[in-house]
Structures are given as C-alpha cells and as structure tokens.
C-alpha cells in the first residue's frame, strides 16, 4: 500500500532558495572526489539535500555528523531508496549551517540522542521521492508520454525501451515545479532500506584520506595548545612566558578566557613552549574537591528522598507490610568520553568572515558561539563539519568550549590557527558523565512478587545552566538524570523514583546513552537482586513482570534463547541478563563471564538482541551494538575520573584504561524483525552491558558488585580470597 504524503511546498521552496544562494557550493567535502563543477544552469537541486549534476553525479548533502555511527551511509540509503539513483554515483557533502538542516524536533542543527534515522526518515524519503518525480516528469515531457508510464531505475528514467540518465535530465528537471505531493514507496518493496550495505566512508578511512578536524591544512596555518586551569572554576592569576617564547617555532603566547595559549608553527614547539610557561593559578572554590569526600556527601543525600520524578501507589506503606525487604546502594563515577581524536578546532578569522573547521555534533550552537566571540553575525561564520574521530556526546557541548576557545586564540593570533588538545587536555578538560550515587529498596510478598520499589538518585544536572534548561528540566528534575529509572517497565504496584541534584563546578555533559548509562546499571542489577531474594530465576522473574511490554519481553526472550539460558556453562563461568529501553529501542544482553585468581573480570561472550523497529542498514545496527557493548564494557571494567585537591587524577590511557583487543569479548547480535517506527542505535547498546556483567559475576562468584568500575579487590574480598 503506497502512502501519499502531502509535502509542504513552502519547505521545499525554502530549501531550494538556499541552493540558489550558492551556500552549498562552499561547503566541505569530507572525502572522495569533488562532485565536479556544479553549474547552476545544468545542476538539478530540487531541495537542500540533493544535487544532481549533468555528469550523473548525485551529491547528497548530509546534515548529520559522521562520527562512526554510519549516518553518511544510512541517510543516503533513505534518499536513494526513493530517488532510485545509482549508488556508485553518490557523493557526500557535509551540510553547512542553515536552518533547513535543523533537527526536525530539536530545532537546531545537531547530531545526538540517537535520533538521526528516526527524525530524518520521512524528510529524506520525501526529498528523494520529489526529485524522482521531477526527473520522471522531465523525461515524460521530452518523450511526450504519460509520466505514469515511466519509471525510475538505478539513475535512469525508462519507458518502453528508451532511457535517459539523471544527468541528461538534470537541466530540464531543474525547471519543473517541485511536486506538492509525493508518493512514497511501500516499505514491502524496499530494495535498499533494511538490507545490509557497505559504508560509503570506509575506503577513505583506511587509506588516510578521510579528513578529520585535526587534519585540516591551510596556508600559513599556526598551531596552538592552551594551558587550562588545573581545577574547574580556576583562573590565571599571572604568568610569565619568557622561556616559552624562546622555544624555536613559538610565535606568541597569549592569555585567553580559558587559560594561556601558546601559538607556534607546529604542534611540537607549541607543546614544548607550554611546558615552559610559569603560571600562577587561582584555584577557586573547588580547590579542595576530592572524590572520597564527594562520595560521602552523595551518600548522605541518598539517605532521604529527593524531588519526586514518579510516584505510584504508596511504596513506604507497602514496604512496611512486605514479607521481605531489600536495600542496596550503587555508585558510578565521572567518566571522560575520550574520543580517539582529541578535541581540536581550526579557525580562519577575518574582519568580516570567520571559517571554522571542526568535528562537531552541535553546528548551530557552535556557529553562534563563534560569532559571539568573533563579534560577527552568525551568517558571517562558516562552519565546516569534518569527520569526527568519535563524539559520544563530547562534541555536542552547549558551552561550545573548544570552538569558543579556538576563536579567542585566532583573534589573538591574527592568523589562521588550529588549537589541538593533547590527550591529557582532553581527559582533564571536563564535561564528564556525572558522578552518580543511588539508593534503592524493594519489597516482596510471601510468594516472591515485587510489591514496592523506591529509588533515590543523586547526581548533577547536565542541562541546568545551559540554554536547554527550560526544555529539559521540569520542576527541578532534569529528565536526563532519571531517564531509564523513572519509566521502568516492570509491573510493580507501588513505586517512587526521586532525585537530588547537587551543584558542583565540575562541568558535566551527555555521555553516550546519558542517564541510561547509570540507571540501567542500578535498575537491572537490583532487579537481579530482587529475583534472587524471591528465589526465582532472573530471566523468568523479569519475563513475568514484563507481560504488558511485549518489545522488552521479546528481546529478553530472544537474547536468553540465543545465549542458551539455563544450559550448563564451563566451571567458573556465570551468565547474566539485562534488558533496557532507551532512545526508542529495546535491547537485552546476556554476558558470560568469569573472574581469575586476581579478581580480573573476563567477559567471554555477549549475546545482544535488539528491537529497533524498522531498520535501515542492519550491518550498521550490528556494528553499533558491538560498539556500544565495548564502550560500556570499558566503563564497567575500567573507567573512572577522580579528583584530589581539586585536580583530575587521570591524564591518559594508562590512568584511564579502556577495553583493548585482548579484553574484547565475542559478540553476537540478533535483530528482531519489526514493523514498529525506527529507534536509535548509536547509544542504546551501552546501558545493558554493565548490569549484564554484574549479574553474570554474581552468578559466577556469588559476589554482588555495586560500584563501577568493578574493583578486582572487592570481588576477591567478597569471594573470601582477598
């Protein structure tokens, strides 16, 4: 059944206007050959996303940042499905900053929240379909036949043995009106969407030609590194740069609001110069910040209820009447995103124009921030989005920290300059996943049914104090603090989830899967504890409580079946299960783990079942599940940012280890066939892995670990081997 969708003519006129304004021509081509001369007279540009040249090249302008999640392939697949173009002729351009490229829900140009496919599906399908209809109309006109007797196929319009390529039709199609209504394909007839497809960006990523922000070269480009305060909220009191300025290659040393910048002809002299700076810092109010004391503060807050995010029934009364009650406390540390590509930003600032090249997830905010610093109008700032060497949320910062700073440095330098963060800078630079502490209680009746659930969460708000506060914080509750905890799907008659939001100067930010990164750990670990307290199998216990949630139940059953739940395992191994919904997708994971004599945790195998609704590129979904699992495993086994005397104690991958090849488990991903609306895939693979491993460790050793990352010593102590 085909769907007829009304299109907003105004939208298309608007998007067309951008093209004729030539904005797109100036935009950055992240890889591949240039699309050739885009002569406006012969180029068919029916909307802001598609440009077809007389040479048959199909240029797709993608408004989402490619940071590994595969949008430079999945979004083109959505367009190509309707456009029926030749896949091999596709070129990708990163969209410039323009309102036509805004997120359809957030109203800004942004890549995040695992929303790209979900929000662009309809818009890009329509864009592709409109272009196809216009090409067909152009051909039908030329042949003087009924458009309905023509069809589009692999870059050609065909009719009764005749065919014309899209390139041949481009100039004519460009003169036709944009249709008001387009007929979208019946999903049952999809030829591209829903079938695995190789990524368009892969070749460039293994021959060194893919351009990341750090790779941008400009004539006369200088490089800067910045010495930033060692304590959050600190400032420069005074500094001397005499020694730094003597380093050959150092061009200048300037103070900027974020610290002291050493500007040089290359990275090495800049870094050497920075080492020779003498800076007196004023540490400010957080000079005494220490993780153990912070933990104590959080622990005491957790002992009383906070602002109520969800309440049903009377949990306190139900607890009192219950046959059995259990309580536990959980902890999850600050985490750095640690993308492989350290932060960087390249700026060419002139009196009436500013060009910025950087890997960002937050184009509108960064562009506007840059304009503010540069003293220019937003339209005078041209932000070129490069490939991102990982984002994970760090490159979507309401504070635009790395962009603002780079514009300040460029202002002082008076020449094009690229600010590069060292790994230490990146790791100590803040905007962490918040530190979380949770206290949770549950009660069971005498047949082992859950009667009440009370969950108190303590942690900083991400959105408070940003322009997103009004949208994301309601009645003092930042939705991101309680997501995954407030809306637990289990059938429990009495439930309360509440929140304390302490304030600290440690900057925090969304970290791949945001609130779910800690709530899933707490909820799914504690659900396991409840199952054991009830004397029930953790899979069967969950399953029974999910009767009204078929998608949760479906993935739970699929993962358990594929993992051979209940079947014997080699001695010393345990299996753990967890299920969690986030970003519109439902995921269950079963982990198989063991611990050695040193308490080192080994994850042997992870079985992952996902229901993310209708799929675009199943191979990308698999890849994102693998990616999320390993990312989450790094946090479960290793990750922690801690403070002493106000300073971050970790500075590189030795102090902040991540999972490497030798720790990487075998991963099996099973995708649930589904006709539901699409869900996200970039983030939802992360939340279930920590609890699945914790639950598996309990099964293997009898020890319940409630603090992330898992501490081998705590494990050995629990096993009586410490």
């Amino acid at each position: 059944m085909s769907e007829i969708i009304r299109m907003s003519r105004r939208d298309f006129l608007k998007t067309g206007a951008v093209l004729s304004g030539g904005l797109v021509l100036g935009c950055y081509l992240p890889f591949g050959n240039s699309a050739g001369a885009a002569d406006p007279a012969t180029t068919f540009a029916p909307n802001a996303f598609i440009r077809i040249g007389s040479d048959d090249t199909v240029t797709l302008i993608i408004n989402k940042s490619e940071m590994g999640q595969g949008v430079y392939t999945s979004l083109p697949m959505l367009i190509a499905e309707e456009l029926a173009c030749d896949w091999k002729k596709i070129r990708i351009e990163a969209a410039p900053v323009d309102p036509v490229y805004n997120h359809t829900v957030f109203g800004l140009q942004v890549t995040g929240g695992s929303t790209s496919v979900r929000t662009e599906w309809e818009r890009l399908s329509k864009a592709g379909a409109a272009a196809r209809e216009m090409l067909i109309a152009a051909a039908a006109r030329q042949w003087k036949v009924d458009p309905a007797s023509c069809r589009a196929e692999n870059g050609f319009v065909v009719h009764a043995g005749k065919k014309l390529s899209y390139g041949q039709l481009a100039a004519k199609a460009a003169k036709l009106p944009v249709p008001q209504e387009v007929r979208l394909k019946d999903p049952a007839r999809y030829a591209i969407v829903g079938k695995p497809r190789h990524r368009l960006d892969s070749p460039a990523k293994i021959d060194g030609t893919a351009l990341f922000g750090i790779d941008v070269q400009l004539p006369g480009l200088l490089t800067a590194v910045v010495a930033r305060p060692p304590v959050f909220g600190g400032k420069v009191t005074s500094f001397t740069a005499d020694k730094a300025k003597k380093v050959p290659g150092v061009v200048d040393v300037v103070q900027v609001p974020s610290g002291v910048a050493v500007i040089a002809t290359g990275f090495w002299p800049a870094k050497k110069g920075r080492e020779l700076l003498d800076i007196v810092w004023d540490d400010g109010p957080e000079g005494g910040l220490a993780t153990p004391a912070l933990r104590q503060q959080y622990v005491s807050l957790a002992q009383s209820p906070g602002l109520v995010a969800r309440k049903e029934g009377e949990p306190a009364q139900a607890m009192q009447k219950a046959a059995k009650q259990l309580t536990a406390e959980f902890e999850a540390p600050f985490l750095a995103h640690a993308p492989m590509e350290p932060l960087n930003c390249c700026v060419d600032l002139k009196s009436d124009r500013c060009d910025i090249w950087t890997g960002t997830q937050f184009q509108t905010v960064d562009r506007n921030s840059a304009a503010e610093v540069a003293g220019l109008k937003p339209e005078q700032v041209h932000l070129h989005t490069t490939f991102l060497g990982g984002g994970f949320g760090r490159r979507a910062n309401p504070a635009s920290d790395f962009v603002r700073e780079a514009v300040h440095v460029a202002k002082a330098a008076g020449k094009p300059v690229k600010v590069i963060w060292t790994r230490d800078d990146d790791m100590k630079g803040g905007f962490y996943r918040p530190f979380w502490y949770d206290r949770i209680s549950a009660s069971l009746d005498d047949t082992g049914n859950l009667t009440a659930w009370q969950h108190t969460i303590v942690g900083q708000s991400i959105a408070t104090g940003t322009p997103f506060e009004s949208a994301m914080v309601k009645n003092g509750i930042d939705d991101a603090s309680v997501e995954g905890a407030a809306e637990i799907p289990y059938a429990i008659p009495n439930i309360q989830v509440d929140l304390h939001t302490p304030k600290l100067l440690v900057p925090v930010l969304w970290w791949r899967s945001v609130g779910h990164s800690h709530t899933a750990f707490v909820v799914e670990s504690f659900m396991d504890e409840a199952a054991h307290a009830a004397g029930k199998d953790p899979f069967a216990f969950r399953r029974a409580l999910l009767a009204k949630h078929p998608r949760h139940k479906g993935v739970l059953e699929l993962a358990a079946a594929k993992a051979g739940w209940g079947k014997p395992l080699p001695a010393g191994r345990g299996r753990g299960i967890a299920v969690h919904e986030s970003f519109g997708s439902f995921i269950a994971q079963v982990a198989e783990v063991s611990a050695d004599r040193k308490g080192t945790v080994k994850v042997h195998r992870v079985i992952c079942a996902i229901d993310c609704g209708r799929t675009v590129n199943p191979d990308t979904i698999r890849a994102q599940m693998e990616s999320g699992i390993i990312f989450g495993l790094s946090a479960a086994l290793h990750g922690a940012i801690t403070f002493k005397n106000g300073k971050v104690e970790q500075d590189n991958f030795d102090g902040y280890p991540v999972v490497r090849m030798n720790e990487s488990p075998a991963i099996e991903v099973h995708i649930m066939p589904s006709k539901e609306p699409p869900g996200g895939v970039g983030e939802p693979g992360v939340p279930p892995i920590a609890p699945a491993v914790a639950n598996a460790l309990f099964a293997a050793t009898g020890v319940r670990l409630r603090t992330l990352p898992f501490n081998p010593k705590a494990l050995l102590d629990g096993m009586g081997k410490g």
Binding site: M67, G68, Q69, G70, H198, R199, D201, S202, A204, K205, I206, D207, G208, T209, A210, L211, F212, I214, D215, Q217, T223, P248, G266, F267, W268, A338, P339, M340, E341, P342, F387, L388, G389, G390, I420, T422, R423, E592, H604, R605, D619, A623, E626, S627, I629, I630, F631, S634, N652, F653, D654, V658, V659, R660, M661, N662, S664, P665, A666, I667
Partner: protein
Amino acid sequence: MIALNVNGKAYQVDVEPDVPLLWVIREQLKLTGTKFGCGEGLCGACTVHVNGEPARSCITPVGDVAGKKIVTIEGIPAGHAVKKAWLAEEVSQCGYCQPGQVMSAVALLKKHPKPTDGDIDSAMSGNICRCGTYPRIRTAIHRAAGAKKKGGKP
C-alpha cells in the same frame, strides 16, 4: 636537515632531531593519515613501519629514523589483503584509529601469515579503538590471512 625515506620517497626536513616522527609526517610531509591519539605510546593511532617493524611515531624522535625505511598508511597499496579484508568486514566506524590498526595488522601478517587469536591479541592490543571495532578487526585479520574464522574467542 634530516634525510627521511617515507613511502619510498626521499625528503629533507628542517626540524630538530627530538621532534617526534608523527609531527614531521603530519605537519612537514602533510601525510595526515597517521593520527595523534595519546602522544605517549599508549594507543597505537600513530603506528607506522620503520624498517618493516611497527613503531609508535609519537614517541619516535625523527633523528632516530633518519635514513631508515618508513612506511605510513599512505604507503599501503590499495589492493593490499588487509585493506580488502577491512572493507569486506566493514571494520571502520569513526575511522580515526583505523590507519594505526591497519599498520599493526599489516606488520602482524608479515610476521605471522596465519596468526592465532593469541597472536592477534599480542600484536593488536596496543591499538585502542574507542568505537569498539575489535571483533571485526579480528575477523578481518583472519580473512586477510586466508582463514575464514569468525571474530572473537568465547
């Protein structure tokens, strides 16, 4: 002036001998495929070959490799078995670590044409991938070695 031989080409570079090879490759030679990830030999993003051996260019002073045979990602031919396997297994995500991964894998296969999972662990554990492409890297290495073995070792 330091004489360098990179990807079979001779260069004369005017830098101090203590500058890490990484920055000479990236900034003087403009070969930006070799990446900066940690600067301390901890992540492998900067891996190149020096006389056929994998080396972390971020901690290799350029003065130490004068006259030696240096190969970067740009010097690995397009049809190389490792590159083909990487594409077939669709390894790359953000891609930032991948030049280093490919360089480590090429060196591994030269030494162990039929590597075991243990060989892969020891040769590849110095290369971090924050996108978690390890299972596919493992499969791709087996594929490049001509063995159809699935990633992971439960």
